[in-house]
Symmetry: C2
Subunit: 423 residues, 2 copies
């Protein structure tokens, strides 16, 4: 442990902790036999351990972090590097220089990753590269450099290849750094269903280098701030205040000035609070055995909205539409004051995130909720804000309640002209 | 616990037990932060628990076992049932009667499952059925009825669908009952590589009904006995004696008379010993964190052999070729006496399992070993018998040693006419 570091041990949530339930006195293999039949039960525990590091300057050839992440040192290191096409255009030369300078036998696989090609065919392209490169089972983690779609695709390929091979994530978008790139989920769309196929397979290490955000478009910064706002609304009122105060500037500055907390930009604190908040929610429920998940906030209607509007809406924009609906629903139930409703919608507008979109019809929202109920094993389990920074689950949203909430946002959009614009 | 049942608690192997390594005093989420960077580590434990039951008469409408396996009782139960085409031809009417009689809203998805269509396309067919049926996330386990290919396909589909949905396996072949249907692995072939893509996702319950074997072809009974012989050779000399004494009769009787241990057919004991032996090996190493696996016996050269000979060899036949090679290698290293070598090859011949095949060239075996070394993270980790019923791992099989072992079997086949025949 280096000097000057602040260590914190975060306790799992009450009632969700999985460690306390490990019945260590239970036999691992239990057999009961009789003349007429027999029964065996197999119990096995898997420990999944992964790291998220915030560290600038990853592509500096003097920095061994990226070269050594997720594996033991090797005399003749080899790496397959899967890079998003846009990242390759911006950083390809530096990525090549980095691996060459560190004497790593590498191969680059460039994927034009976006939501419409978030499919098994793209996973097969990555698997074919792994196969061609001859990835060894444990010692040659595949390195994924790109946004959330790219890291989800590489994650699923790595999960399936030899039934799981290690990989390393380098998210280059804000949404990747605070959401897609730091959890356990991988996934692809199937038919019209968002992330219908996937696995739980976190990368051994995620390296978050905020300097990548310097080349991100403002729209994609906003897209990431939507997931930051989600964490703020459900559990972190201070994070909400930071967004309310600095949101527009974080976009225009592209979240730079990370690492210097006293410059007033707040970027550093926003990033740290978002990552920690997300990991706190994921850790006790990594495999989603508990289907009542706070981080599903903004993700009850949005999967269907996003797929219906494809390719128009980014993921965070669809989540914003869902959050707008959710705060109106919470207000109509008396769970959120009029002031807090206005503040929440105000932050969405400050961030130029949509609060309404023409695909959001009563019919679409009803079918979105029906699909989510299947996904939550027959219940709505809809998280709604109980004041800003806290949340409760509801199970009884009625069709007319949903229609009325939508009408509020539709009228509002007609009046203010909000919704659907992309900076 | 019913009267008359014998309970046994099986201790995990020395040195492989995973439970004793659970560091319960380690924090679940650990954070260290400084001005320049931050690091978070997420630890999470997953408990996987599954059952294997030996129970005859599953399709008797009076027996609730199949209808209730893997789920809580429901007022309006629904099940998607994925059935192999051959099983459907033989048992389809009884399967329909069973679910109708038990008032379960079911749908049958019939798949012509065999090694050449053990591909992602077949998985997609099953996933589409799941999607069309609208499988709810946790309460409606998909039921898979068929051989090892069918249960592997359904297992992967269930693993990927919503990132894991439960399923139930009803293996109808012997190899399914003692091997493919009772472990955690799912998989499909990719390009020329056997099971290159897959996951670890055991069914909640596997129901082993040996009466299905009554309609199995002798060739497929032999195919399953090859995996039984594997367990016998590496760890169970008594099982080996049973095969040596009763092997041919087990084939002609199709493993019937299970449940009446004193009739001398030995089928019941062979089935129980094989299942228990396999589960004992799998439990402490369900996710293959340890790549030194006894159950890889007969599976070092066979994946490449099987794919090269496709569709000629069944899985167990390819495993037999590998086991023949392995006993010759063990003998040449002084690990197996001449008598035991003859006995092992004798059982293979009694069972009419092949000991040589024309695709087994020195070149093919060399490339098979090279691929296996990648799969075992850079080492051979080749299990070889150390006497019958015990095994050791070797890491230094040389090319000429392999060539000589092959030559022994080639000469032998030329002399006896053995190898390649299928009853």
């Amino acid at each position: 442990m280096e000097d000057g570091l602040v260590e914190a041990i975060i306790e799992p949530h009450q009632g969700q902790e999985n460690q306390r339930h490990i019945p260590t006195d239970r036999p691992a293999l239990f057999a009961s036999e009789s003349a007429g039949g027999a029964k065996w039960r197999v119990d096995a525990y898997q420990l999944i351990s992964y790291e998220v590091s915030l560290c600038a300057g990853l592509l500096d050839p003097a920095d061994p972090t990226l070269a050594t992440a997720g594996s033991v040192a090797s005399e003749s290191p080899r790496r397959l590097v899967v890079v998003d096409a846009q990242v390759n255009a911006l950083y390809g030369a530096r990525i090549r220089q980095y691996f060459s300078a560190r004497a790593i036998a590498y191969e680059l696989c460039v994927i034009n990753a976006h939501e419409r090609v978030k499919t098994m065919d793209s996973v097969f392209r990555i698997v074919s590269s792994m196969d061609g490169f001859g990835v060894v089972r444990r010692r040659e983690p595949v390195i994924a450099i790109g946004g959330g779609v790219l890291t989800d695709l590489v994650g699923l390929a790595a999960s399936l290849y030899r039934r799981s091979t290690p990989y390393v994530r380098v998210p280059t978008t804000l949404i990747g750094m605070v959401d897609a790139g730091i959890g356990a989920k991988t996934g692809v769309n199937f038919r019209q269903h968002k992330n219908r196929l996937g696995s739980y397979h976190p990368s051994a290490v995620t390296l978050v280098d905020p300097t990548f955000l310097g080349t991100l478009s403002p729209r994609h910064v906003r897209n990431g701030l939507a997931e930051v706002l989600k964490i703020a609304l459900i559990k972190d009122v201070e994070l909400f205040e930071l967004l309310a105060k600095h949101g527009a500037r974080l976009v225009s500055e592209r979240m730079q000035y990370v690492g210097s907390a006293d410059d007033g930009s707040a970027a550093d604190e926003v990033l740290r609070r978002s990552i920690l908040g997300m990991l706190e929610e994921l850790q006790p429920n990594l495999w989603e055995h508990q289907l009542q998940r706070l981080v599903d906030y903004g993700h009850s209607f949005s999967p269907t909205i996003e797929m219906a509007a494809l390719p128009e809406l980014l993921h965070g924009e669809a989540v914003s539409l869902d959050m707008a609906l959710s705060v109106v629903l919470a207000h109509s139930r008396g769970m959120l004051s009029a002031t807090d409703l206005d503040r929440a919608l105000g932050v969405l507008r400050d961030l130029e995130l949509p609060t309404w979109h023409r695909v959001c019809t009563p019919q679409l929202l009803a079918s979105a909720l029906a699909d989510t109920v299947k996904h939550r094993d027959g219940q709505q389990l809809l998280p709604l804000t109980a004041g800003i920074g806290a949340a409760r689950f509801v199970n009884d949203i009625a069709a007319d309640e949903l229609d009325q909430a939508l009408a509020v946002l539709t009228d509002d959009a007609a009046f203010t002209g909000a919704g659907g614009q992309h900076g």
